[in-house]
């Protein structure tokens, strides 16, 4: 008989206007990796925040190791043996890895922190679970993946028996994700129980033992991972059958709309990031750029859209050079851009939906009259129209955009950029962090743009996305385009091989299974 280390019984949590968790009962078995999946806003993070003591349930009971417990705050949770790693890390940048791990639980001698003992303790712990990280490095100097390991170490250092990971892969590169899964396996072998919150079905299938699906605050069901599949889980999450591939007609490419020739761009540190890239894009086609993140895609896109100036090379839009123009002038010539990071680039979170929908159009008629004054009526009308046709929820143009869900925020960006009927559309990670419903919507809109004769450049780290939307695929590695394939020639294995720097000649030939892994 399998023992539940953690049991949630009839948990209900209401927020003004929504029931975030509706009578959820769930058992987590000792030593398992239990995936908790659901779309954005389905209540999975809320549920785990209740377990960790950040929220109090309105009704229901938490039973830990067979005893009903009241978890009033995270400290109580930690003392019980619960640990949680959040999407946004809570580390002190200026302190070292060790200092962060031992914070508030410092080993000490006569009131002085025993730093040496702390370092060796942290190193031991890291080695035991395969968490590669330099215990003496400053947190400010380490990568996001390493920061996450520090967070996991923090929980383990406090002897967590149940570790809750809130969408841990959202911030990781594919390699880092691989490594995280290895660590999770190690933890399971050594008896730690893991609750893994995600909305990526593939990850669930790869790593978990059991999976529970939430939808709109309710538990839809729990399955043994071995006995379920992608289709069933997707259906449980969305509540209906989902298209796993985008429905589309073959592309009808017309004349060239953009050509990039010999482009060289440096990154912020002055290192060459884009090395001699040349591309051609036609009207009515989607050109996908596949590649592991950090291989120059972002610099390429920012040079094309005018946010950085290339060292050398040309970007021609309908035959005219645009590489020296300002972002505003490039926009006005019919270029739309979905930026990779909607919080850093795409939106002004303190502005209303209506004001975000005019970002970049704000200085042009009809939104400005007499060269200076805002035309509130036009701004409102524009917002009302787009909110309706792109189904932004809640449909209130005056709402501050920070309070919208990630999917709806992205819909605002998409609405703004797509509704301008661009001739050239750049989409950079257009569906990052979104749930299946929103992804489906945005994918259909991209295909609709293509069919209206727009040239689409799609940059994505998700191979699925590249494969289901693109008509041609360029693979970027180390700042260069290493291969351009038609969609018929491309498959996951070949792309994966090229993305990791594989020899294009060999990729054309047969590929041994397992080549993609290393």
């Amino acid at each position: 008989m399998v023992e539940n280390i953690l049991e949630l019984s009839h948990i209900t949590k209401r927020f003004p206007g929504v029931v975030a968790n509706d009578d959820i009962s769930l058992g987590i078995r000792k030593g398992e990796i239990h995936a908790l999946v659901g779309e954005n806003g389905s209540g999975k993070s809320t549920l785990m925040s209740i377990v960790y003591g950040l929220y109090q349930a309105d009704a229901g009971e938490i039973i830990f190791k067979g005893v009903p417990v009241r978890i009033g705050d995270p400290r109580t949770a930690i003392e019980l043996g619960l640990g949680m790693v959040f999407q946004h890390f809570m580390l002190v940048d200026t302190l070292t890895v060790t200092e962060n791990v031992i914070l508030h639980a410092e080993p000490h001698n006569w009131g002085f922190v025993d730093y040496k003992r702390a370092v060796s303790g942290v190193e031991e712990l890291a080695t035991a679970y395969g968490l590669r990280v330099d215990a003496r490095a400053r947190v400010a100097d380490i990568s996001v993946g390493q920061e996450q390991r520090v967070e996991i170490l923090k929980a383990l250092y406090r002897q967590a028996e149940v570790l809750i990971l809130d969408e841990p892969t959202a911030v990781l590169t594919p390699q880092e994700t691989e490594e995280l899964f290895q660590v999770m396996n190690n933890l399971r072998e050594q008896g730690t129980t893991i609750v893994f919150i995600t909305h990526k079905i593939k990850e669930v299938l790869t790593i978990s033992d059991r999976v529970s699906v939430l939808r709109r605050g309710k538990l839809v069901g729990t399955r043994n991972t071995a006995e379920t599949g992608q289709r069933e889980l997707a259906e449980m999450m969305v509540g209906r059958e989902v298209l796993l591939r985008v429905k589309k007609e073959p592309a009808k490419p017309a004349e060239t709309v953009v050509s990039v020739a010999g482009l060289q761009v440096r990154d912020r540190r002055g290192m060459p990031a884009v090395k001699d890239v040349s591309l051609e894009l036609r009207r009515g086609e989607v050109l996908g750029i596949a590649g592991v993140e950090g291989n120059g895609q972002q610099e390429l896109v920012e040079a094309i859209t005018g946010l950085t100036t290339p060292d050398t090379g040309q970007v021609l839009l309908r035959g005219e050079p645009i590489q020296a123009l300002s972002p505003m002038k490039i926009k006005r010539r019919g270029v739309s851009y979905i930026p990779e990071d909607r919080h850093k680039r795409g939106l002004i979170l303190e502005y209303s939906v209506a004001d975000n929908l005019i970002l970049g159009l704000h200085s042009d008629p009809p939104f400005v009259e007499r060269y200076l004054f805002r035309n509130e009526r036009q701004i409102k009308a524009h917002a009302a129209r787009l909110v309706e046709s792109y189904d932004v929820r809640p449909p209130n143009p005056d709402q501050i955009i920070r309070t919208l869900s990630g999917g709806n925020q992205q819909k605002v960006v998409v609405a703004r950029e797509f509704s301008r009927s661009p001739e050239f559309l750049v989409c950079s990670q257009p569906t990052r962090g979104l749930d299946i419903g929103a992804i489906e919507f945005i994918h259909q809109e991209i295909i609709r743009q293509r069919d209206q004769g727009t040239g689409v450049l799609l940059v994505s780290a998700e191979l699925d996305e590249i494969l289901s939307l693109s008509d041609r695929i360029a693979v970027m590695f180390d700042g260069r385009i290493v291969a351009v394939l038609s969609i018929d020639e491309a498959d996951e294995q070949r792309l994966g091989y090229l993305m990791l720097g594989g020899d294009p000649q060999q990729a054309a030939g047969e590929i041994e299974s397992g080549v993609t892994a290393k």
Partner: protein, 347 residues
């Protein structure tokens, strides 16, 4: 610190009002130490600052320069810039207005007065543009540069008022400005002058620029999120410089008002830290033009009533400084206020 608020809703009023109440409570302790009844002291404070038309006029007169410096600081805040240089900007504005005011005696009033005001604004604008440009082009922090520009302004005006523009009297001051350049007194015998009308106009203009024009949209966008502004085709550098110029021009009006409306001449080091008080006013007013008005009036009232309290009770006027300091402390510690005055919490 929440430097960026879009509107003055009741939620936003909680911290300023709570801070004022708490500061008065802390002040009451000091009144008790001075051996006086706090209720008596505060009654005097209130009656002498708001109790009669005349005292209200005095309060408004004291508030006028603070409205200008508060507005100036708040404007820069909206672009994400911390302008500590209002003091220097008001000095160069004051000297420029005084120089125009003591010259051109044969001009008609409709030309002379606007010219003096415009000269002051131009001087303040240029003074603030320097740290603005340094920030926009070279990334030098504006706090450092605006502070340093203050010292340059002190010594430059010291030189001008003791050298080329020294007046006929022995004191370090200019001659009286011609009546054609003066902001006339509007409520004798107080020194309330038409500068208060200018202040109200400035409030409206700042409000319109920030929320009704594309320029304000761009400036606030840069303040909230420079990355997104740049993506939206907004020039971050240009808007930073523009925001500093407007900020400096508005702040300099404090000096202009003191010269043309109160003293009638430029007096060396005349300002009782009006520029620095402007930072407090902006903070308390939540960087909103209307909030700035009420904050400035409050600070004006404290100074007016404080002087009377000193005269009529055993409480020294330094109590006012304590209260002002406490207000700033509590506004900065806004989380404390939210906990002391809990509203219904959002989930």
């Amino acid at each position: 610190m929440e430097l960026q608020q879009s509107s003055l809703s009741s939620r936003n009023l909680l911290v300023p009002l709570g801070s004022v109440i708490l500061a008065l409570l802390v002040g009451a302790v000091f009144v008790l130490i001075a051996g006086e009844n706090p209720i008596t002291a505060y009654r005097v404070l209130f009656v002498e600052s708001f109790g009669s038309v005349r005292s209200i006029a005095t309060t408004l007169q004291r508030a006028t320069p603070l409205i200008f410096t508060g507005l100036g600081v708040a404007f820069a805040f909206r672009c994400g810039l911390f302008n500590i240089g209002a003091e220097g900007q008001l000095y160069v504005g004051a000297i420029a207005a005084a120089i125009v005011g003591v010259s051109f005696g044969d001009l008609p009033r409709v030309i002379h007065l606007p010219m003096a005001v415009a000269a002051g604004m131009a001087a303040g604008g240029i003074w603030a543009a320097v740290p603005g440009i340094l920030k926009a082009k070279l990334g030098v922090h504006e706090v450092i540069n605006t502070i340093m520009m203050n010292f340059v302004a002190y010594y430059l005006t010291d030189f001008l008022v003791t050298g080329p523009f020294h007046g006929g009297r022995w004191a370090p001051e200019t001659d009286r400005v011609f009546p054609t350049a003066a902001l006339e007194r509007i409520f004798l015998p107080t020194r309330l002058n038409s500068g208060i009308i200018l202040a109200v106009v400035a409030i409206v203009v700042v409000y319109v620029i920030l929320w009704k024009t594309k320029t304000g949209y761009e400036i606030r966008a840069v303040g909230f999120n420079p990355g997104a502004a740049e993506y939206g085709g907004i020039s971050v550098a240009r808007n930073m410089v523009l925001a500093m110029v407007i900020s400096g021009a508005v702040a300099s009006l404090a000096g202009v008002e003191q010269v043309l409306g109160v003293h009638g001449r430029f007096i060396q080091r005349f300002s009782p830290d009006l520029g620095f008080m402007g930072i407090a006013v902006a903070l308390l007013g939540k960087n909103h033009p209307v909030g700035v008005f009420f904050a400035a009036v409050l600070f004006g009232a404290l100074r007016t009533g404080g002087a009377a309290m000193d005269r009529l009770t055993d409480v020294p006027r330094e109590l006012i400084v304590i209260i002002q300091a406490m207000i700033i402390m509590f506004v900065a510690a806004d989380e404390l206020i939210r906990r002391l005055f809990p509203k219904k919490r959002k989930g």
